[in-house]
Structure formats: structure tokens, C-alpha cells
């Protein structure tokens, strides 16, 4: 019997495929049964209502996209009243993504969202820390450590720390999150990028800059997922540019115990369901008994020792 399950701390997922925050919502239930997924991950919410960034909020770049949605949020109360009950009908665990501009606000939101129906909290620490210089918490080990420590005190639920690629210290940040008590890492959020319309000479995003996601981003996020898996003992959830079942397999081989699918769902809304089938087929034909056997099976030999922590391109 093929075993598709994967373990993320205390949580067992029936398969390693789940959506990425901000690229999934209740509406997708109009396309397929959401209970086929390993977990459900909601768009990041904030405590207060927020309207998000100016439009245009997305633009296309060669084979990928940029977004500057920001975090429009109906607020905590609306979320508890409408969203959590919606997902109650499913067996798949609900992962709630949260964000705030300071460690204290972060911690109090974390506490208040630790309610029945929520299986784990994903902390989007890739958002700017307004108390410091506006750099995201996850850009530095110190701020990562500080915020995760507070969050750890605020909840008994599993805490997933979502990292940012906008740093030169991926492994240090990963270790700081682990040390401060994160139960898993999500690697990663989008990479800061820009596009300009050469006809109007205006930035293509209302917000000037935005995050790169989609296929172009894959080799970068895969590298980060690999680095993190090599440097921490907590599970790593891969995220970035995953568009095909081959991409899923690549991340699992690199060491991710599960993956999140973002932009690909915009292009092919059934893709997550198809990936689950595709993964099953792959494992069967390759003679694997379980997803676990595939995870971290990269044949990196000696190379890994010297190179894992290399963070300069050669």
C-alpha cells in the first residue's frame, strides 16, 4: 500500500500537497473537492481591516508574475465568523496565516487566532517590521528569533515560520526560527522584483515593486528549501514556482517534507489535485512505498558539506 502521508511536527497530512497562502480561498471549492488536499492554508490576515495596495496589483513577466496585493484583510473577527466555519466541513487541517507590524501585535493576534478549527499557524514574517527599519522580520536572524520567541509563548498550536528570499542569510534565519521554537519552516515567500512599462514609463505595479512568483522563481526557492533542510531539524515545507508534479518531486528530493502550490493554481486551477495523482503514479512506477522514502533523497555526496552554506553565487 502506497503511503502518501507526511509528518509536520505533530500534524500528519494525508499527502504533501497544499496551497500557498494568498493563492487559495473558499472559491476553489467550485472546481474540485478541497478535501483531497493535504492541508488548507488561508490568505494572511491581520487583526484590523486593511484594504491592501493600489492597483495594478499583478503583472506578467516572462513566464511568471509579480504581485503587490499587500494584505487586504477583513480583520480577525470576520475571519473567525466566516472563514474558519467554512473549512470546518473538511477533514484536511486548516493552517491560518497571520501577520503584524510588530512582535507584540503579532503575538496577540497569534493568541487570539488559536481557536478550535485551526490546526496550525503559519506566520508570515516576510512582512515589514515597522518597529525596525521596515525590513521584514525574516530578513535577519535576530528579528526572526525575537518574533518567533514571542509567538511561541502566545500559542500551543504548531507554528510554521514562512521565510523570505530577500536575505543573504537564509540558513542563519532558518536556524534562528528553529531555535526560537518554530515547528516547521515554509520556504519561501516571494522575491522582491520590478517591471516597468516602456511605453508609459510607469512601473507595472501600483506599488512600484512586488514579489516574483511562479516558474522563474523555482530554482531560487528550491535552493533555499535545500539549504534549510540541510541546516535545521524541523520539517521544511517547500514553496516557490512549483507548477508540475516533477517540480513537487524535485522539492521532496531536495528535502522538503511537503510543498505549497501558489501561482500555478492561477494558471491551472485543478493543478493541486492533479499533482496528488501524479505523485502517486510516480511513486508507484518508481517502486517507492512512501513519500517519506523520497524526501531528502538527493544524491549530493561530499558536495553538500562544503557547499550548503555557500550563499554567494559562484
Amino acid at each position: 500500500m502506497l503511503d502518501l502521508t507526511t509528518q509536520i511536527g505533530s500534524l500528519t497530512l494525508k499527502n504533501p500537497i497544499m496551497p500557498a497562502s494568498g493563492t487559495f480561498s473558499e472559491e476553489l471549492a467550485q472546481l474540485f473537492d478541497l478535501d483531497v488536499l493535504g492541508a488548507h492554508v488561508t490568505k494572511t490576515i491581520t487583526r484590523e481591516k486593511r484594504s491592501g495596495n493600489p492597483t495594478p496589483r499583478v503583472c506578467e513577466v516572462r513566464g511568471s508574475m509579480l504581485n503587490s496585493i499587500g494584505i487586504p484583510s477583513k480583520g480577525l473577527d470576520a475571519f473567525k465568523a466566516n472563514v474558519i466555519p467554512f473549512y470546518d466541513r473538511y477533514d484536511a487541517p486548516l493552517i491560518v496565516s497571520i501577520s503584524a507590524g510588530s512582535t507584540d501585535e503579532f503575538a496577540s493576534l497569534c493568541e487570539d487566532i488559536s481557536v478550535p478549527g485551526v490546526a496550525a499557524i503559519e506566520v508570515n514574517i516576510s512582512c515589514p517590521n515597522i518597529e525596525e527599519d521596515g525590513k521584514a522580520f525574516a530578513m535577519r536572524p535576530s528579528t526572526t528569533h525575537a518574533v518567533i520567541t514571542k509567538l511561541r509563548q502566545a500559542t500551543d498550536l504548531p507554528l510554521w515560520a514562512k521565510l523570505t528570499p530577500n536575505t543573504g542569510e537564509t540558513t542563519e534565519v532558518a536556524k534562528a526560527a528553529e531555535e526560537a521554537g518554530a515547528d516547521a519552516l515554509v520556504v519561501s515567500n516571494t522575491l522582491l522584483a520590478m517591471a516597468i512599462d516602456i511605453h508609459t514609463r510607469r512601473p507595472k505595479l501600483g506599488n512600484l515593486m512586488g514579489g516574483l512568483s511562479g516558474p522563474a522563481f523555482k530554482p531560487i526557492a528550491l535552493r533555499m528549501a535545500y539549504q534549510c533542510a540541510k541546516s535545521v531539524d524541523i520539517p521544511v515545507i517547500g514553496c516557490g514556482g512549483i507548477s508540475t508534479v516533477d517540480d513537487v518531486i524535485e522539492y521532496l528530493i531536495a528535502g522538503a517534507v511537503a510543498v505549497q502550490i501558489g501561482t500555478a493554481t492561477f494558471i491551472e486551477p485543478h493543478i493541486m489535485a492533479r499533482m496528488i495523482d501524479g505523485l502517486e503514479t510516480y511513486l508507484t512506477t518508481q517502486g517507492f512505498q512512501s513519500v517519506r522514502q523520497l524526501v531528502g533523497s538527493v544524491d549530493d555526496k561530499e558536495a553538500s558539506d562544503g557547499m550548503v552554506f555557500m550563499e554567494a553565487a559562484p
Binding site: E27, K43, C59, I69
Partner: protein, 280 residues
């Protein structure tokens, strides 16, 4: 003001199925210099549409055209009996240029039907459509629906020039009173449009007004709606990524109860209350 606002406020998630299917191209031909008509061989399942709804098209990728995101396109016609789905589109950039390369027999993947369409309330007898350019694409199925429901229809069709006016015959066949206006003949200005509509209101009366796109027309109809207490709806556009409500990129601002609220064009729209809409 006592115009009854139409129920365009966020409705609880409706779990109508949405389909993502590959359809064979029956025809894809120029309609005039700027527009093309795409006819797909579509399964019955996706043809349960409401006028004003749209599909999200996965445009083909080739050596020279590599659109990545899908492209939203209003339903120009849906014909369950013939199994046909029609789009009328203007070639503007990479995605629509890629659409234009499709030939008979090739396939195109379409997601839909999507969004909230137009309403024709039971007591709306005299309907006014005001369309400009490719806006006709969006309003055409509404005209057919009105015809089926036996409503009286006036269609004001505006365009740059005579030969840019499409589908006039189609509207006439549906029994509409068609009023063509063009920039060339100097008849398409707002002043003239206002005079024509006010005459119509004075003559038979108008129960509801429908339009899409143009800012100038939106403002005119909002003003007329307020003055004469006539409800209306408008179909709006915004750039889309997911097309089904997940990404929140397609928001536009609306006036509602003295506040400005953001709504998703793909989900709460693309059809919105005329008075709540804000031009851009």
C-alpha cells in the same frame, strides 16, 4: 435618492460548479479591422451562463508569444443547442495576439462561467443598453436574454466610425431599437447621447440601464439615473490573475453607504450597480 441599490454586495460563496475544459476552435475570424470572433465547440456543462459573465482563457504559447496569466473575456454568445461559446475580442497585446493565432480544430482551455452577470428584474419592461466598441461583446447576450423574456430594448451603439459598429443587425433581429452613433458623424458626444436618452425616457420610459466600460458613458448614465430615478448596472474590467476570487488582484473601489469599499471584479462582479461604480 431612492434608487433601490441592486444586490451587488458580497453574497455568501455560491458553490455553483466552475469548469476548466479544453474546447476545439470552430472558427476564429476577423470581424472588422480590430475585432475577432472566436467560436468554440463547447460542452453543455459550461453553457449554463448568465449574460455578463466571463471566461478565463489559457492563451496558447508559441515561440514569439508567451502569455503567462490567463486572460478574462466576456461571453459574447452561449448557445447550448448548438454547443457553441462565442467571444468577441480586440487584439491588444500578447495574450489576445496569441488568441488570434488559433485555427480551426486547435484547442483552447477555458475556465468558467465566472462572475456575477446582469439582472433583469421581473418588472423591468423597457431596457436601455449603451455600449461602445468592444463593450458590445458583453452586452450582446443580455440583448438576447431580454428578447427571450419579451422586454423592450433600446440599444445605443457608439463607435469611432461606421465600420467599427458591429452587430447592429444582430440587435435589430432581436427587435431592439438600435441607435448608432459615431465620432465620425459627430453624433457620439455625451450631449447628444443625453438628449437621445432623455427623449426615450419622456417617450416610453426606461426601467433599467446597462452599460460597460466607458467612463464618459458611466458618468452620463449615473447622472440620468439619479435625475430620473432609474436603476442600472455596469460591467467593469480589471486585470486578473486567478479569475475566481482567490488572489484579490482585481479589486476596484465602489461607493456604498457613504463609504468606499473594494470589490473583486472577478467575483462580486464583473457586473455592478451603476451608481456604486467609480470611473477611473
Amino acid at each position: 435618492m431612492n434608487i433601490v441599490p441592486l444586490p451587488t454586495s458580497p453574497t455568501p460563496i455560491e458553490m455553483m460548479p466552475v469548469f476548466d475544459v479544453s474546447c476545439a476552435v470552430k472558427r476564429n475570424e476577423p470581424v472588422n479591422g480590430e475585432y475577432r470572433l472566436l467560436v468554440l465547440d463547447a460542452p453543455h456543462s459550461i453553457l449554463q451562463c448568465t449574460p455578463g459573465q466571463f471566461f478565463h482563457l489559457l492563451c496558447p504559447v508559441s515561440e514569439h508569444l508567451q502569455p503567462y496569466l490567463r486572460r478574462p473575456m466576456s461571453i459574447y454568445g452561449y448557445y447550448p443547442d448548438q454547443g457553441e461559446l462565442h467571444f468577441l475580442y480586440k487584439v491588444t497585446g500578447e495574450g489576445t495576439s496569441a488568441l488570434a493565432t488559433l485555427t480551426t480544430g486547435q484547442s483552447l482551455t477555458v475556465l468558467g462561467p465566472l462572475g456575477r452577470g446582469f439582472d433583469i428584474l421581473p418588472d423591468w419592461q423597457n431596457l436601455l443598453l449603451v455600449a461602445r466598441g468592444v463593450g458590445l461583446a458583453t452586452l450582446a447576450p443580455l440583448a438576447l436574454q431580454a428578447h427571450k423574456l419579451g422586454r423592450n430594448l433600446t440599444a445605443i451603439c457608439s463607435a469611432r466610425s461606421e465600420d467599427m459598429l458591429m452587430s447592429l443587425d444582430y440587435f435589430r433581429e432581436l427587435g431592439a431599437d438600435v441607435i448608432p452613433l459615431t465620432d465620425d458623424t459627430g453624433t457620439s458626444d455625451v450631449g447628444n447621447m443625453r438628449r437621445i436618452i432623455e427623449a426615450k425616457i419622456a417617450d416610453t420610459g426606461i426601467d433599467a440601464m446597462y452599460t460597460c466600460g466607458s467612463n464618459r458613458i458611466l458618468k452620463l448614465l449615473q447622472s440620468l439615473g439619479k435625475t430620473h430615478n432609474i436603476p442600472g448596472q455596469i460591467a467593469l474590467e480589471q486585470q486578473m490573475a486567478c479569475g475566481i476570487g482567490m488572489c484579490q488582484c482585481c479589486v476596484r473601489a465602489f461607493h456604498r453607504k457613504g463609504k468606499t469599499v473594494n470589490e473583486r471584479v472577478c467575483r462580486e462582479g464583473p457586473v455592478f450597480d451603476l451608481q456604486e461604480a467609480i470611473g477611473c
